[in-house]
């Protein structure tokens, strides 16, 4: 690893710690810096409401943003590598559409058929949503993996994935048409994405799952490096293409499925972070890129969460708007500046 790369990596890790702290400090209820510090180290007597805000709201939210950002970014990098397409991202194979479809079934049908609006069910409703999302996305993923073993070209697979996404969206459209307004609203809000929905025990489970899955995705580093060369060269260097494709897509799919289940379909991060990292680190080597997207993804998600919760917005700003509004100009400017440098060389 180049010297400057190590420095960048350390800087980003340091930034993550700062961002976590900022996430604890900043919010619609203002809690003095010192009190936050005391609450974290469990010293001093701070008001119980403040303790609850930090422990039960801000910390879970920060951790959720952290692992969700990391997971989506890794998933995006894997998709871009396996399809050798810079526009690929976690949502490209219809996996997040699958999650949306699962959620749509639960939210929209429970009202129309069961006669209960899911939004009134509270905690049970939340769990039902997560399960529906996981089932929806994993079933789409299973379909994609099955197809990936049947078709040869990556482009064909990509197109089929996009088609599956369209079908899922069409099903959602039909469901919406037959649903009551209240449920549609609940569904739309889920679709805007949020790091705040996950609370308490659910957050523990989410973070636990991701801390197992993310390291697993690192086992595919050599495979992904070989994939950069294209199918024929990779095969000639001893890579079993079918198996490799299966593993990488599964890894990316599961990460996306779980994040989407807990946070809703978060757009943009998964597509943008890999590009940002390639620009910063000037490499395609996954031994550097994988940790890089993990850290940068986590940091970016924390920033977005911070902005979404800025005093004044009262937590009302949807994460998806922030990721795109903040992230797009940043990434575009980085890529633009890099392209200019390349031309000047």
């Amino acid at each position: 690893m180049r010297h400057s790369n190590t420095l960048w990596m350390l800087a980003i890790i340091a930034a993550i710690f700062v961002l976590i702290f900022l996430n604890l400090v900043l919010g619609s209820v203002s809690i003095p810096l010192q009190s936050v510090w005391h609450i974290i180290w469990n010293s001093g007597d701070e008001p119980i409401t403040w303790q609850n805000i930090i422990w039960k709201s801000r910390l879970p939210q920060a951790l959720t943003a952290l692992v969700a950002g990391a997971g989506l970014s890794i998933s995006g990098l894997q998709m871009q590598t396996v399809f050798r397409n810079p526009l690929a991202g976690p949502s490209v194979l219809g996996i997040s559409s699958g999650a949306s479809m699962g959620v749509a079934f639960v939210v929209l049908l429970s009202g129309s058929l069961g006669g209960v609006a899911l939004s009134k069910l509270g905690f049970m409703g939340e769990i039902a949503l997560s399960i529906a999302a996981v089932i929806g996305s994993l079933s789409v993923m299973a379909l994609i993996v099955y197809v990936s073993q049947k078709v040869k070209g990556n482009v064909t697979l990509l197109i089929i994935g996009v088609m599956i996404g369209y079908v899922a969206n069409a099903v959602i459209g039909v469901l919406k048409f037959f649903s009551v307004e209240e449920d549609i609203r609940a569904y739309v809000i889920w679709g805007l994405g949020s790091f705040a929905r996950v609370s308490g025990n659910q957050m523990m489970l989410f973070v636990f799952l991701m801390t197992i899955l993310i390291p697993l995705s690192f086992l595919l580093i050599k495979t992904m490096n070989l994939m950069l060369l294209g199918d024929s060269y990779a095969r000639n260097l001893g890579l079993n293409i079918k198996q490799a494709r299966l593993l990488v897509i599964t890894s990316a799919g599961v990460l996306t499925a779980i994040v989407t289940a807990y946070c809703g379909p978060i757009i943009f991060l998964g597509l943008a972070v890999p590009h940002l990292c390639r620009a910063i680190f000037q490499t395609s080597d996954h031994r550097i890129l994988m940790p890089a997207v993990l850290f940068v993804g986590a940091a970016l998600a924390l920033i977005c969460n911070l902005i979404a919760r800025m005093p004044g917005f009262e937590g009302a700003l949807p994460v998806n708007s922030v990721t795109a509004l903040v992230g797009a100009p940043v990434v575009a400017s980085v890529l633009f500046r890099k392209r200019k440098n390349e031309l000047n060389e």
Partner: protein, 337 residues
């Protein structure tokens, strides 16, 4: 020290699909030797790529036998193959943000561990491969900033780093300009001598293949595959039959191909050396057959490099002295009209 590394017995190649089998070529018998550059020539669509893909085990053969270093190719595992056969392909590989050294290092993948980290030995072999292909000054450049020819050299270095006794190249010179073509072919020829590797490539560059390769494989729909040194194939008439098409003739004197022109007239040409050859070539292109044997009223004296210009002896006995071939051609143009 030559060794027969690849034996092909009654090989059939083609594609299997659910409903049918498309046979591209059958009954191929041949041998490829180490320490030699073998070139596969054939028209588009005759199955050169299919043959190469079958030989590199990218696709299954339809029948027959391929023995690689005395062992059937089907008995090789993916891993063993990756250390036995290295490939270089036609298509540009769209890799961004990877340095030449890193890409050549990928050739070490079959030997590296779980994370693909290069050991000291691996790094030494990478540097040696880069040196063999003479791209030392490119080593730190990003692959996407290289020209097509440079990129092909990098891929050849990758194949060398792979340390395989056999290297297959599928039209490695396809998109290159002429000097780069020559450079790549000479490099490959040089490598066979220096490393005793078996190098087998397909190409469309007839002239270069005939001049540089040790063995030629001619692949043809009608006659299958004929093999031999370029010279033997020329003597036996295989080459002239092979390319017997309108517009191309195999010049037995030079052992090379040239474009067959229809001659509208003949002119006696006197002289020797380079100037003689150039005038002859220029007139040939303009539909005039010119050489010493021809009898004509008007004749051209080329002189040699010491004399300036050319002398045209007209029927009337007067002479005209054009200084360049362009002027000489202009004279014949005027005369024609």
């Amino acid at each position: 020290m030559k060794q027969d590394t690849i034996h092909i017995n009654g090989l059939s190649i083609g594609y299997h699909s659910k409903s049918s089998t498309k046979l591209v070529a059958k009954d191929i018998h041949s041998t490829i030797y180490s320490g030699e550059l073998t070139c596969l020539l054939g028209a588009n669509g005759v199955g050169k790529s299919t043959l190469l893909r079958t030989l590199s085990a990218f696709q299954p053969k339809l029948g027959g036998e391929i023995l690689v270093l005395g062992k059937d190719i089907d008995a090789y595992s993916d891993k063993e193959l990756s250390t036995t056969i290295g490939v270089v392909l036609t298509d540009k590989c769209e890799i961004r943000n990877m340095s030449v050294r890193e890409l050549v290092g990928m050739g070490r993948s079959p030997y590296t561990g779980f994370w693909g980290k290069l050991s000291k030995d691996d790094k030494r072999i990478v540097e040696e491969s880069i040196a063999l292909v003479r791209i030392g000054e490119l080593a730190s450049r990003m692959v996407h900033t290289l020209s097509d020819g440079e990129r092909q050299k990098v891929m050849i270095a990758k194949a060398l780093a792979q340390e395989t006794p056999i290297i297959y190249l599928d039209e490695p010179t396809a998109f290159l300009d002429f000097p780069s073509k020559v450079e790549i072919m000479q490099l490959l020829h040089h490598l066979t001598r220096q490393t005793n590797k078996t190098i087998f490539m397909s190409t469309h560059d007839l002239e270069l293949a005939l001049q540089i390769s040790d063995k030629i494989w001619l692949m043809d729909k009608a006659n299958g595959i004929s093999t031999g040194t370029p010279e033997d194939l020329a003597l036996s008439g295989h080459l002239s039959n092979f390319f017997a098409r309108k517009g191309i003739v195999f010049d037995k004197e030079t052992g090379l191909f040239r474009i067959d022109n229809q001659f509208s007239r003949q002119v006696r040409l006197v002289g020797h050396g380079q100037k003689y050859a150039m005038v002859r070539k220029a007139l040939q292109r303009n539909g005039i057959l010119a050489n010493r044997e021809v009898e004509s009223n008007i004749w051209i004296e080329t002189g040699d490099l010491k004399t300036s210009g050319f002398i045209i002896h007209e029927t009337s006995g007067s002479t005209y002295t054009p200084l360049t071939i362009e002027e000489l051609l202009a004279y014949f143009d005027i005369e024609k009209s």
